[in-house]
């Protein structure tokens, strides 16, 4: 048995969360109680109206990003920095390594009329006198001190070259990251601005249409009122003329 003041059952009925027997009891009550039937209809209409309220269609795009997935814009060294070193510098580095090895081994290369001879500091020279070598041909290898100076100069030059290459790469990488971010930001701003303008235009168009409609209705009402006044005046004039005709037709004593 359903009573009119049982609003909890009524709301269950409106939302359809109700068991079969109770639903039948409410249905039976609504068939005879117009007040409750009207209330159920009205609540259903309100529910339909509520559906018209929509939140704005915004871009959300939330994303959880791990720290390790952040862009490595602050990493100064390129991952494969050695690939940026020029070929000549790589060749020089190879010579440097070779020369350093030769220096450690105290390697000697001599050229004589009989041909080249190679020896280390720990070996007995195959050809006895350096004077012979000096007399018979140019001596290719310098002394140990000269070699060390040359090696040091070469190493210094190589280090400077590698350092300058790294700095250029770092600056270029930073500039590229900043540029991309700026371009992305500008594109977002332009897109947002265009969207805003479109919406504003739509709003203005709607307002303009609404104003036009209101003005049209007001004009029609004025015209209607004017017509009524005109008809009234016309009617009065007709009556006056009829009176005049009647008076003029009456024989004067």
């Amino acid at each position: 048995m359903f009573r009119c003041d049982d609003k909890q059952t009524l709301i269950s009925y409106v939302y359809g969360e109700i068991d079969h027997d109770t639903r039948q009891a409410v249905d039976a009550h609504l068939a005879s109680c117009h007040a409750c039937a009207a209330e159920v209809t009205a609540l259903g209409d309100v529910r339909s109206d509520i559906g018209l309220w929509v939140p704005p269609d915004v871009e959300l795009d939330f994303t959880i990003v791990k720290k390790s997935q952040l862009p490595a814009s602050n990493v100064l060294r390129p991952a494969r920095w050695w690939t940026a070193v020029p070929a000549w510098a790589q060749a020089a580095a190879a010579i440097l390594v070779l020369a350093a090895g030769a220096g450690i081994a105290n390697l000697r290369v001599t050229s004589t009329a009989e041909g080249f001879s190679v020896s280390t500091g720990w070996m007995t020279p195959a050809v006895s006198a350096p004077a012979v070598g000096e007399a018979n041909g140019p001596r290719v290898a310098g002394t140990s001190d000269e070699l060390k100076v040359q090696l040091a100069a070469l190493e210094q030059k190589l280090r400077e070259e590698i350092r300058s290459t790294r700095e250029q790469d770092t600056r270029a990488a930073a500039r590229t990251t900043v540029d991309e971010a700026t371009i992305r930001r500008v594109q977002q701003l332009i897109a947002a601005s265009e969207q805003r303008n479109e919406r504003e235009l739509a709003m203005r168009f709607v307002e303009f249409t609404r104003d036009m409609n209101m003005q049209r209705r007001a004009d029609l009402q004025n015209i209607g009122r004017g017509m009524v006044n005109y008809e009234d005046q016309l009617q009065r004039q007709r009556q006056t003329i009829n009176n005049l005709i009647r008076v003029s037709a009456t024989p004067q004593p």
């Binding site: 909890q8 969360e17 609540l43 309100v46 509520i50 018209l52 704005p56 269609d57 959880i64 709003m203």
Partner: protein, 194 residues
């Protein structure tokens, strides 16, 4: 085959961030809509939605799966909304966002809807939003959860931490206030249909 929430939650708990981002993508709009309708401000609703997912991500290891993932998200979002309302100590503002609705409604309704219908729909939406503003927070939240998110009475009672009967009372009273508000605005259903 689309992964269920439970599957994505399980993968997320194993450290798969991409799976959690799929959950975010799936639920960001309902959570934003919930926050928007409860607190009524676009920017703040975005903040609440974002904070909801951040908190969910951090608290994921503690999620035992007793409730549905969506219910868990709703609970976090509603707590944040409640905090926002208390912190700001103000009534939610539910004015229609400037210049948004007409274009969007036009897109939704297609070319057959006349401009008069569009204006009427926009006006109706604004009046409904204003009516929701009149409701106490609990009634408004109950209506939002029921009408826009399709939760059951029991789910709403769990989220709001109140008996089932209280939820029904809140819904009935809220709908009745809205009904009177709509009638006072002269926007009956029949008029809108014209």
């Amino acid at each position: 085959m689309v992964a269920t929430d439970e599957e994505l939650v399980a993968r997320s708990m194993d450290g798969d961030v991409d799976s959690f981002n799929q959950l975010v993508l799936r639920w960001e709009r309902p959570i934003y809509a919930l926050a928007y309708r409860v607190i009524g401000r676009d920017e703040d609703a975005r903040d609440v939605a974002q904070e909801t997912f951040l908190r969910a991500f951090r608290a994921l290891p503690g999620f035992k799966g007793q409730a549905k993932f969506s219910s868990w998200l709703y609970r976090i979002a509603l707590n944040l909304c409640r905090d926002w309302i208390r912190r700001k100590k103000r009534t939610p503002v539910v004015d229609m966002p400037e210049g948004v609705d007409v274009a969007e409604l036009a897109a939704e309704q297609g070319p057959v809807e006349s401009i008069e219908d569009l204006v009427a729909r926009h006006e109706m939406s604004r009046i409904v939003a204003a009516g929701m503003k009149l409701l106490p927070e609990e009634q408004r939240t109950a209506i939002v959860l029921k009408e826009y998110h399709g939760l059951t009475f029991q789910e709403i009672a769990d989220l709001q931490g109140c008996p089932l009967s209280t939820v029904k009372t809140r819904l009935y009273q809220g709908l009745t206030v809205l009904r009177r508000h709509l009638e006072s605005q002269g926007m009956t259903r029949e008029e809108f249909k014209k």
